[in-house]
Symmetry: C2
Subunit: 319 residues, 2 copies
Amino acid sequence: LDEFSLIDRIKTAVRARAADPRVVLGIGDDAAVLDAALGRIAVTTDAMIEGVHFGFDLCSPADVGERAVAVNLSDLAAMGARPLALLFSLEIPRSMDDGVVLAVMRAAGRAAARHSAPVVGGNVTSTPGPFGVTVTALGDVAGDAFLTRSGARPGDAILVSGPLGAAALGLILLRDHPGHARSHPSLVRSYRRPAARVELGMTLGSAGGVHAAIDVSDGLLADLGHVLDASKVGARIDVERIPLPRGARRVSRDLGLDPLDAALSGGDDYELLVFADPAEPAVQALRRVGTVTKARGLTLHRDGKRMILPDVRGYRHRK
Amino acid sequence: LDEFSLIDRIKTAVRARAADPRVVLGIGDDAAVLDAALGRIAVTTDAMIEGVHFGFDLCSPADVGERAVAVNLSDLAAMGARPLALLFSLEIPRSMDDGVVLAVMRAAGRAAARHSAPVVGGNVTSTPGPFGVTVTALGDVAGDAFLTRSGARPGDAILVSGPLGAAALGLILLRDHPGHARSHPSLVRSYRRPAARVELGMTLGSAGGVHAAIDVSDGLLADLGHVLDASKVGARIDVERIPLPRGARRVSRDLGLDPLDAALSGGDDYELLVFADPAEPAVQALRRVGTVTKARGLTLHRDGKRMILPDVRGYRHRK
């Protein structure tokens, strides 16, 4: 397919069934035009490169499309923003089958539609390098009802929206123990198709007692560190309170791994890490794992005893 | 530099001197938050890949940064939008010197500041492929005061904002006749540092008699074709009225080229192609090159005589 035919087929693949009234002008012009009815826009962009962030040996094209959407919507969730629209910039190796590109984009379109985030634009270019998808996600925000990394306060409860370490264990299974992978479909799925906490993020964004949030993409300790740095506070984490995914203990025992290591340092879970007044109703269903302290620095406790901080693999992204 | 240090230096490089009150939350959180004071947002994204869209043999790092900004702001100009913010997604080969990346981004930051388009976010990833810059540009728009490709009407004047073919001639000089290139600095500069018609676009966007616009990135005939298709109309172009860049005739004669070919099919000029009521005051300073016709199809005339349509190289993008 030439570029224009491919773009036409991508447009069809990502077209949502019902037109979104917020899209004044969609794909096909010099820019998209969107209604910013709440008066403020949240915007984020992230790239996924084959061989760096994923491989087609471990992920299907549909996984890649789903994941590209989830990673970006997760950033909006961490802001408490309502998804408004997505743009896709695709870098396509000359040798790549257009069918793979279309499978990626059909899955991306489905994931986008599930979260009411219409695909409104993008571009396609060939590349001598690997396949890449750069997504830009726009959300809308009312007034100051958004969540930064810098709002955590001493005394805040630190909470997580779900189990941590599943994606890291799923990746280890797929990459290093493919024979075991099929016995742990939910861990594998957590790696291949993480779920962005979009609805929860919107609820938290409009709850007055929620002071800060971040999504767990680099690992709990790394992302916690980003918030502590930005908020100029410290934290105590009670590691036995961190929820582990189902099957994590068993698979870790079988493979000689530490499930706590995956939970503390494994990235790509896309759960939300939330900093809130402990009495805030909107966080009562979340699991509290610690407390913000005035004293800077992070301490980990296990059953009340202070731990030596483990080697924090997640703290620095792979460049 | 590791990823976080590089990001810190990029942040410093692109930080504008004066804070923009429209930026509620800038670089450094999960997303940027922007005031959409006019109620509507225009958004576009475009990628520039080394070896596909530019080469460091022909362009300096500063040229690349300037160009990445201009290409995207030009899309906003073609919508009649006011620049609001930019995001940069950088793909950096492991072997690349961080100094080159910083030189690209310093120039990008200067170009962004010149057009009041603060850099509010982005991301950095390593890649086994070539260097790439994907820019997302946001603009704001009031009500229906924006320009699409689909609004051209029979009887509209077709106008261009400046000379065409300069960038194509500049590229040919640099690539094929480097010895001649230094004698034609303005052509070379048109290729390396095209100027986005941002101010003009905003003026046209709020002028009631302007019905459609596109920026000339693929070449006059190709971009004209996009508007004619979208508007379901045809056009007559009087080619002797197309403004040629200074020096184009002489350099074309010296090198055995046809300056009209560069003007019709050469891309990357980023002038605006405008479709408007001939009496609209806002277009009186632009050069009229033709008229929209009810009959579909495009005819070219030279001194009143119909031309055989030349081989339209620009009409299909290189994929």
